[in-house]
Amino acid sequence: MSVKHIGLKKITSLSQFCDKLGKDITNDVCREVEKELEACPDCRLFYNTIENTVELYRLSFENRCVTKDMSHRLLKKLKLPENQDEISEEMFDESEKNQ
């Protein structure tokens, strides 16, 4: 195994304990990752592509809206009223039934 392999393995291992992939300078492990990355340009490239991968997933999986229809089906399934009028009406019906 070459020095490069050891470098990358070490960085990968260390970076598991550094959430921000070497960018959190307040964290000792992150500082060490950053130091290792500086000494190994290939490792830096490898890490750039990992960061790029995460970023691409974040961009492509932006939040989708729940449509009114979906929301309606959800509340129907849960047998919950959709608005206050409906709630009041049901509560009124219930109280009438109890009388």
Binding site: L8, T49, F61, R64, K77, P81, I87
Partner: protein, 197 residues
């Protein structure tokens, strides 16, 4: 309204409070389910099942964790069950430590500068989807919760009942796995030109 009060009222059977709670969290639960299942219909099913279960078990919520993490745990479990039923996930793939010799055996090159624009490309989105689908569910959950939902390691660990180091190891392996899946696409010659065409 204060969430604790809303939950208390919902537990007491106040339907108005239950509705408000559901409406407040439906979008987060739906998006988590969509990321897990990669299918709109399945995600809607998961969302419905999640709230059915949550309302049934709401009295067991002790308030020790945040309400959304309690809800996420239910949604993740239902999503995993859904994936198992449909057997869409490739359970045969096992992810072990990355093979660094192989990685270094290849010439590591930077990816094109305009990769972010590629997310608007249908072919590329399908690639992202299929790569995530190939990622085993126990790794996918960690990747989604940590990198897409932005949960902390501690929250993810509690939610999935994993040790802290297990979350970190799975996250790193998942990231490397996905990176390797995308690498082939970026390795194609003139990928940027093809994308722009």
């Amino acid at each position: 309204m204060d969430e604790k009060k809303l939950i208390k009222e919902a537990v007491a059977g106040d339907q108005r409070a239950q509705t408000r709670l559901v409406l407040a969290y439906q979008e987060r639960v739906f998006n988590l389910a969509l990321r897990m299942t990669r299918d709109y219909e399945d995600a809607e099913d998961v969302m419905q099942e999640t709230f059915l279960t949550a309302l049934k078990k709401l009295h067991t919520f002790e308030g020790k964790s945040q309400f959304f993490t309690w809800l996420y745990r239910i949604a993740i479990n239902i999503s995993l069950q859904k994936l198992r039923e449909k057997k869409r996930s490739n359970e045969m793939i096992s992810i072990s430590d990355p093979d660094f010799e192989t990685i270094h055996g290849e010439k590591i090159s930077d990816w094109p500068k305009d990769t972010k624009e590629m997310v608007n490309n249908q072919e590329f989105r399908e690639l992202l989807d299929s790569a995530l689908e190939r990622l085993p569910p126990n790794y996918r959950s960690v990747f989604i919760l940590r990198d897409l939902e932005g949960l902390s390691t501690s929250e993810t660990q509690k939610l999935l009942d994993l040790s802290e180091s297990n979350v970190k190891v799975r996250l790193m392996r998942a990231r490397i796995f996905l990176r390797e899946e995308l690498k082939a696409y970026f390795g194609k010659s003139n990928v940027s030109e093809a994308h722009r065409a």
